[in-house]
Amino acid sequence: MAIDLVVNGQRVSVAVEPTTPLLDVLRNHLDLKGTRYGCGLEQCGTCMVLIDGVPEYSCAREVGTVGGRAITTIEGLGTPDRPHPLQQAFIDEQAGQCGYCLSGIIVTAKALLDRNPSPSRTQIIEALDNHLCRCGTHTRIIAAVERAAKAGAPA
């Protein structure tokens, strides 16, 4: 069956079972590879997307539950040629080692800055605490979100 979605501002229709994980639809049907599989268990945060502006795991989320709702992936923020200020802040801070966790983290940070443009360090940590990073880049990631907030990252 066809399911209508709004992904990064574009209306799309995908022919999948409604029980298909949203993550699989994004990666395999819409070729949006920036949303990543980490655990499939809603434990690590690499698959985070915004659904109507709220960070949500996509790995175990059935696509049938998000029909018509606005989904934002990392590709909806910026591109390599025109990165979003948050993405640029991560580059400026060199806030990555392997980088696998970053797209999910940036998506969550976007939601944070959208609702609170000047978060405290504690608020940033709280917002990111559902995300795992194995390389130990946490302090730089926090600094990158602080940098983006200071620069007044636009929505």
Binding site: E126, H131, R134, C135, G136, T139
Partner: protein, 702 residues
């Protein structure tokens, strides 16, 4: 000339054209065998080439890890990439520059000293010559073997090396596709493996109909003896089938393990290969003290599951892998599949940080086996999360007993470290098996216990001999012949548990002597580089104002030179202990000689601190029944954002000393500094990692 000792990578890859090529778009192709595993090595190697060739950094087009087009540099491991590959790139680049300029000097009939290079353009006494690398270099410049006789630049003249240049691979990683998992090829099929529960387990029944039903879309099976794969065009269906499959497969010959077998202490009394390294045992009179410390089995626990792609067309196999070593993987895959090595090509693609030998190579073999059965299609294998935790090789449990004979001043005059551990390195080229090989019709023989030689830094013995000025030092190594689960390399090998033991024991000896732990260390240490770091960290953490023990607030310090030959690091940790440990602040100083990219170096040092803290406080692979039972992030927790301390790292400026690898330097010292800080906070020592809430409660009851 004959006494020039070339770096290992040049010894095995002598020709210049293996390394460097000038490309028509005015870039320089630099090909290396070391690969990006999150450590930022490619930008550092690019900086070295740009520096020696005198071209702008953005002209360096680096190709890393490719058996078709890049040199064989073995594995990317053991903090050797800058010291070995970097030294090779430096010599190759300097020699190419000299060869080209030498020919130009002949052409212009001038002295080579009159010539210089400005972003690849050749000048004579500062004036244009009309020539540059791209117009003037020719095949003859590359046709010779590298001699290593051309002196590279002096560090004082560096313009690119030593600068904190940003990496290039982060931009794609924060904007979209960037990893092996994201590769899309024509004729792509997704695959998952129904894992053999353990080596020598035999599949007696497989209900394929039930698995097909669970898939809900067409799938097919590939079966070779005890190797079973599920393959299909729809990844969602293949994944569903794989999740359902274990319940529909019946195996015999699966061992029954107990949690006790997963403890480090289990190795005592098990058959082992015993070695004695260092000073002979000599009678020493004095007070004898000893303590035993341990770390359990720990996982790489990469954030991404292992992934591999393979295509078999016309007898030629092409593989994509996030392996640490494309050539060793190529050789293993070719040998296992019965293909000539020249008919197998392995390309490196980026994966998630794992800091050692995890399932990357195994996933590549999975894909290659299936590809051979389904020629003409690209087979993409991605492990499931529980498969990653359950089947990757883990780092062996490790027990270290430290004994010292003390003189009248309670300083050691004789020092013995005794280690019980399984193999710290079991790559396929070092006695280990690739996972699926054990399930094939001609299965691999049992793995052989193995550890790196002392010349390569040791494995279980790594950092077992401290650099203190003790008159006699030795390590006795009991390498267990078998481990209950597969083991292989993880950041630092035995360095973390050994430095934990040694540096915790030093605090215990200091306490026994009634001397401040930092003063006690300095009184036994003549290595000036180490002393400088300890003094720096002690000053910054205000060690002299350290409070009494047992208040709940702790400050601890430890140091080591990784492998006793790579970078030095000293770490101090301040923490609070209530029911559990809460890290507050970490101070670190490191000396790595000439640092190529200080920002990348700091990233590695800080990352090592957090990784080590996570391991020390939280991590333990749970073993029970058929094998590993900690199969998700709830049962294998790692450090979270809310648990990470503030970190203040200083890298000593020491550019005239040779580069020392620093990717693993903070690992052991951090663990030991935490151990010492927890002991200071509690007034009670916990010698077995991880230092969990349960361990703290037990320690306080004792």
């Amino acid at each position: 000339m004959s006494d020039v000792v070339l770096p290992l990578s040049l010894q095995t890859n002598r020709r210049l054209d293996k390394w460097l090529r000038f490309q028509p778009d005015r870039t320089v192709r630099l090909a290396v065998g070391k690969v990006e595993i999150g450590q930022g090595v490619l930008i550092a190697l690019s900086q070295i080439a740009a520096e020696e060739l005198d071209v702008a950094l953005d002209r360096i087009d680096i190709l890393a890890g490719d058996t078709a087009e890049a040199p064989d540099e073995g594995s990317t491991s053991s903090s050797l990439s800058i010291t070995v590959s970097g030294a090779s790139v430096r010599l190759a680049s300097a020699e190419l520059r000299a060869r080209v300029l030498g020919r130009l000097a002949q052409r212009l009939n001038c002295a080579p000293a009159e010539l210089s290079v400005e972003d690849g353009v050749f000048l004579q006494n500062g004036n244009p010559t009309g020539h540059d690398y791209w117009s003037f270099s020719s095949a003859e410049d590359f046709a010779a073997d590298i001699t290593g006789t051309v002196a590279p630049k002096k560090p004082s003249s560096y313009r690119v090396v030593g600068k904190p240049v940003p990496r290039r691979d982060l931009l794609p990683k924060v904007t979209g596709a960037a990893f092996i998992h994201d590769i899309v090829r024509p004729d792509l099929l997704h695959a998952r493996v129904v894992r053999q529960p353990s080596r020598s387990a035999v599949l007696t029944a497989l209900d394929t109909a039930a698995i097909e039903k669970a898939a809900g879309a067409p799938i097919r099976f590939v079966r070779l003896a005890n190797f079973v794969a599920i393959v299909g065009a729809d990844e969602t269906a293949v994944q569903r089938a794989a999740v359902a499959a274990p319940a529909h497969a019946t195996w015999t010959g699966v061992p029954t393990l107990t949690p006790a077998m997963g403890e480090a202490g289990y190795f005592r009394g098990q058959p082992s290969d015993d070695r004695h390294i260092g000073d002979p045992v000599a009678p020493a009179s004095g007070e004898v003290v000893s303590q035993t410390y341990s770390r359990p089995y720990v996982a790489h626990a990469a954030l991404a599951p292992s992934c591999g792609l393979a295509e078999f067309r016309n007898g030629r196999l092409e593989v994509w892998s996030h392996t640490q070593g494309v050539y060793p993987l190529r050789n293993s895959v070719a040998d296992i599949l019965g293909l000539p090595r020249e008919q197998v090509i392995v390309h490196h693609a980026h994966g998630a940080g794992c800091y050692g030998h995890n399932g990357a190579d195994d996933a590549a073999l999975d894909a290659a086996i299936i590809a051979q059965q389904i020629p003409g299609q690209c087979i993409r294998v991605q492990w499931r999360r529980e498969e990653e935790f359950g089947f990757e090789p883990v780092s062996t449990a490790h027990m270290t007993k430290v004994s010292a004979v003390l003189d009248a001043n309670r300083k050691p005059v004789d020092w013995t470290v005794e280690v019980w551990a399984g193999s710290h390195v079991q790559r396929p080229v070092f006695g280990g098996n690739m996972l699926a090989h054990e399930a094939l019709p001609n299965p691999a023989p049992p793995p052989k216990a193995n550890d790196p030689t002392e010349a390569n830094g040791g494995g279980g013995t790594r950092n077992g001999i401290p650099l203190y000025d003790f008159p006699a030092k030795r390590v006795i190594h009991h390498l267990a012949l078998e481990t209950v689960v597969r083991t292989s390399s993880l950041r630092g090998l035995g360095a973390l548990p050994n430095v934990y033991a040694i540096e915790c024991f030093m605090d215990e000896l200091a306490e026994r002597a009634g001397v401040d732990p930092v003063a006690y260390r300095l009184s036994l240490l003549s290595d000036q580089r180490a002393r400088r770091l300890i003094e720096d960290v002690a000053a910054r953490c205000q060690w002299s104002k350290r409070g009494p023990a047992g208040t709940g607030r702790g400050l601890g310090l430890a140091w080591a030179q990784y492998k006793n030959r790579a970078a030095y690091a000293c770490v101090a940790v301040e923490l609070d202990v209530d029911y559990e440990v809460k890290l507050r602040r970490v101070w670190c100083a490191a000396d790595a000689g000439l640092v190529i990219n200080p920002d990348g170096a700091r990233n590695q040092l800080d990352g090592g601190i957090i990784h080590a803290a996570s391991m020390t406080l939280k991590e333990k692979v749970q073993i029970d029944g058929a094998g590993i039972t900690s199969l998700d992030w709830d049962s294998y927790p790692i450090m979270r954002f809310s648990e990470v301390p503030e970190i203040d790292t200083v890298i000593m400026h020491n550019p005239d000393m040779p580069t020392l690898g620093m990717g693993e330097a903070t690992f052991g010292p951090t663990a030991a500094a935490i151990g010492n800080a927890v002991a200071h906070a509690l007034g009670v020592r916990i010698r077995d990692m991880p230092l969990t809430r349960e361990r703290i409660a037990q320690a306080l009851v004792r």
